[in-house]
Amino acid sequence: MSTLVIAEHDNVNLKPATLNTVAAANVIGGAVHILVAGNACQSVADEAAAVDGVEKVILADDSAYENQLAESTANLIQSISANYSHILAPATTFGKNVLPRLSALLDVQQISEITEVVSDDTFKRPIYAGSCIATVKSSDSIKVITVRATAFDPVNASGGSASVESISADGVSDLSTFVNEEIAQSDRPELTAASIVISGGRGMQSGDNFHLLETIADKLGAAVGASRAAVDAGFVPNDYQVGQTGKIVAPDLYIAVGISGAIQHLAGMKDSKVIVAINKDEDAPIFQVADYGLVADLFNALPELAEQL
């Protein structure tokens, strides 16, 4: 039994979700290998080789993998899949894009967003926006799995000394080509990696009012998020979205401001350690999951909070 973990990276650094995925692989047991598919990405392979508990890094360094588009990446993974009993990727937009394609190429029914490894063929995963947790057992010979990063503590990024084996590009596809990317630049921590997140909902009333949250975020070293309602209303871009169809976060502290607490939003944050809700509606469902609830007008409460921090 051995597991292949697909590294998430930007050709320079290994992304932290890879470490949580290796943690899930360790629970499954057996040898853990990491595939780094990218372009001019030796530094990522070196980082992956230092990850605690990894036996081997497979490096496919080729311009075809510069942007890790689904078609070529899935074909590459398929070409080395016979060596593995499990293939894991983080349930990020990268993993969600590539792994189901691989899964169909292998004629395997993927298991999405596992939150617990029960045994090498049995896993827990949330369904219906996390209203229920399903325990599922796979009969496929290769298990193709995406991993919810927040459900597994990351392994150490150092302490390992894996060998690095280079492989050539295989099955390169031109069905899709990269045009450009607009990656939001921010001095604040990344939403899924932040230890404190402050999110705004429809109650914020406008995108401009998000500066009230940003002021507090900067004092706390927090990331800024939003509910789907705030994204729908055009207050903030979609990459702020926390919830069933957005990002899943589980910080030490989550502050929900002007968010009613629809199940779709709770799905993305209810595993946070401490939850604070600020809402003027005392019956808002968000208070049912909040450790500390403050019934107040956010336009009064936020400036006051900023002052006291």
Binding site: A104, Q109, K137, F178, E181, D239, Q244, F287
Partner: protein
């Protein structure tokens, strides 16, 4: 240009789903059903492409039980020209659904297939990508903007850090994200008209595909409940609790 839009009948997004008493599955007795929200976005995008003169025909397809006809009629009321139900009494996994859809698409040979990125029941986010693999089509998932340019489509995708634009050769699979469009409501005259549109029913058994389940559902349970919290009276009290009790800020 012909567009196929696969859709899914799911539990309405307002329903809070609970496990059955014996925890063998979720309790779907007497719950309200609806079209998956991301599928509505897919139908809307296809209909807009038709209204813009880019597409000539929009075909809604679903794989499911006979009662899925209700959601196909909704798709027809929203502007699809005709509909196909691949009928099965079994609850199929995404791979089996993708195989059935691939058969329909091979027969229809559309230039574009648009579907929701995820159904809000199983939250799998798989069918579109699987379908693309089975058909050897290119894929553009999580789309927030689509423009058709001859024999390719330029698609802006919602990715974790921001936006990515790719070009994908047609025919291709596109899956929809939230901000692609705001779906319209069906008007009463269009609901009436939809009743007369063609809805073809094809039994899945005639397709010759392997739909045997690969996953066994062992149990369904509620997630662990959070301990009940408290209400604080003031910002001052909140800050003090966070510092001294929860110790999450300093």
């Amino acid at each position: 240009m012909k567009i196929v839009v696969p859709i899914k009948r799911v539990v309405d997004y307002n329903v809070k789903v609970r496990p059955l008493g014996d925890q063998s599955d979720v309790d779907l007795n007497n719950v309200k059903m609806a079209m998956n929200p991301f599928c509505e976005i897919a139908i809307e995008e296809a209909v807009r492409l038709k209204e813009a003169g880019t597409a000539t025909e929009v075909i809604a397809v679903t794989v499911g039980k006979s009662d899925s006809q209700e959601q196909l009629r909704t798709a027809l009321a929203l502007g699809a020209d005709r509909a196909i139900l691949v009928e099965t009494d079994s609850l199929l996994e995404p791979l089996a659904i993708a195989k059935a859809l691939a058969k329909v698409i091979e027969a229809e040979s559309p230039q574009l297939v648009i579907l929701g990125k995820q159904a809000i029941d199983g939250d799998n986010n798989q069918t579109g990508q699987m379908l693309a693999a089975l058909l050897s089509y290119g894929q553009a998932t999580f789309a927030s903007e689509i423009s058709i340019d001859g024999d390719s489509a330029s698609v802006t995708r919602e990715i974790d850090g921001g936006l990515q634009t790719i070009k994908v050769s047609l025919p291709a699979i596109i899956t929809t994200d939230l901000r692609l469009n705001e779906p319209r409501y069906a008007s009463l005259p269009n609901i009436m008209k939809a009743k007369k549109k063609e809805l073809d029913i094809q039994p899945i058994d005639a397709m010759g595909i392997d739909t045997a389940p690969r996953i066994e559902l062992l149990s369904v349970e509620l997630p662990p409940a959070r301990q009940e919290g408290i209400k604080v009276e003031s910002v001052e009290e909140l800050v003090s609790k966070l510092k001294n009790e929860a110790k999450v800020i300093s």
